[in-house]
């Protein structure tokens, strides 16, 4: 079955074919996990795994309603984006009610950053501070290389709204980072030719 397209696999999944759906999960779980990781505020790895699993469970439930003309990746991103927005809403509601739940524990156990650059902590904080839609837009564009048209489809907004989201997200990141680190270009290190001045 591996030669089947995503759309064919999704159609088969809609008819209850678990094997076809398993192949889709294997094909796309890394993409969904990386999107969920970047779109959620410092959750533990287990919490992000849970969220990504929920995305696939939702996809399985909705498989019978999948429109063959849609792209599976776009459709999965839409489910994932909604899951991330809902999570954020729940956490905000919890903050308002000042109730504690498992999320507190998850946040308390947030793992050490795996970023390559030590300055990336500031970048991650700045990305974390973005509103959810700006954040999703920048993640889809920058890390998943999606076109404005595809991002518009995922977020269910117009292309001009995507353009505006990305601009505002970049401006906010620029302002945030300008307060914490030097955003001037790195001086280029010239190769040592051994020549004396």
């Amino acid at each position: 079955m591996p030669e089947l397209s995503d759309e064919q696999l999704m159609e088969a999944s809609g008819r209850g074919d678990r094997e076809a759906f398993g192949l889709l999960v294997k094909r796309h779980h890394r993409t969904v996990l990386s999107f969920a990781h970047r779109c959620t505020n410092r959750l533990t790895r287990d919490a992000v795994d849970d969220l990504a699993q929920e995305v696939f469970l939702s996809a399985w439930k909705s498989a019978p309603t999948f429109q063959p003309q849609a792209r599976v990746t776009t459709w999965l991103f839409r489910i994932a984006a909604n899951a991330c927005f809902n999570l954020r809403r729940r956490r905000r509601l919890r903050d308002v009610l000042t109730l504690r739940d498992d999320d507190d524990q998850r946040l308390a156990e947030a793992p050490q950053s795996t970023d390559r650059d030590p300055r990336s902590a500031e970048v991650r904080d700045a990305v974390d501070s973005l509103p959810p839609s700006q954040r999703a837009a920048i993640v889809l564009r920058h890390f998943h290389d999606m076109s404005y048209t595809d991002i518009a489809e995922v977020l269910d907004i117009s292309v001009s709204a995507v353009e505006s989201l990305l601009f505002r997200a970049r401006e906010r990141l620029r302002r945030e980072l300008a307060t914490t680190e030097d955003l001037s270009p790195k001086p280029q290190v010239l190769p040592d030719t051994g020549a004396q001045p």
Binding site: R38, P111, T114, V123, H142, S147, E163, R174
Partner: protein, 152 residues
């Protein structure tokens, strides 16, 4: 071109979504606006910094976990969507439980009867009943349960 519009174009240029006309217009604006040139440089640096944000490797057993949750969910939905599906299982379980209870009662009843009969035949019904405050009770009870031909 206003600076705000130029900044939007810088963002589109980073994404490779700027057409050639707009690109020329932006170039002309940047040539005469130091502020926007600085912003363009900073936005390019921000874009580079984003590249450093890596995500952890996907867990090896992710697909298996999704499959397991699908199985659990399917079983749950079978019960929710078809409430009568569990009826034969529940009936069987109920009958088995009732049979077990009856068995326990029956075996306890037999044991009690045997113990009481044994106590009565030995003349120690009061011990059996753990009363013991009046020894005459043994005699009275013994007479009550003794066969008619044995009565005086």
């Amino acid at each position: 071109m206003r600076c705000e519009h130029a900044k939007q174009m810088i963002s589109r240029r980073i994404d490779g979504e700027l057409d050639s006309d707009d690109s020329r217009g932006l170039h002309a604006h940047l040539a005469g606006c130091a502020d926007c040139r600085a912003v363009a440089t900073q936005l390019a640096i921000v874009d580079d910094r984003l590249d450093a944000l890596v995500v952890p490797e996907a867990p090896a057993d992710f697909s298996r976990k999704v499959s397991a949750r699908l199985t659990d969910q399917s079983a749950y939905e079978r019960i929710i969507r078809h409430p009568l599906a569990w009826f034969p299982h529940a009936t069987a379980a109920g009958l088995a439980f009732a049979a077990g209870v009856l068995l326990v009662y029956a075996s306890n009843g037999v044991r009690e009867t045997q113990t009481f009969a044994s106590a009565a035949s030995d003349g120690h019904v009061a011990d059996y009943l753990q009363v013991g405050f009046d020894e005459s009770i043994d005699e009275t009870l013994f007479q009550l349960i003794a066969p008619a031909e044995e009565l005086p």
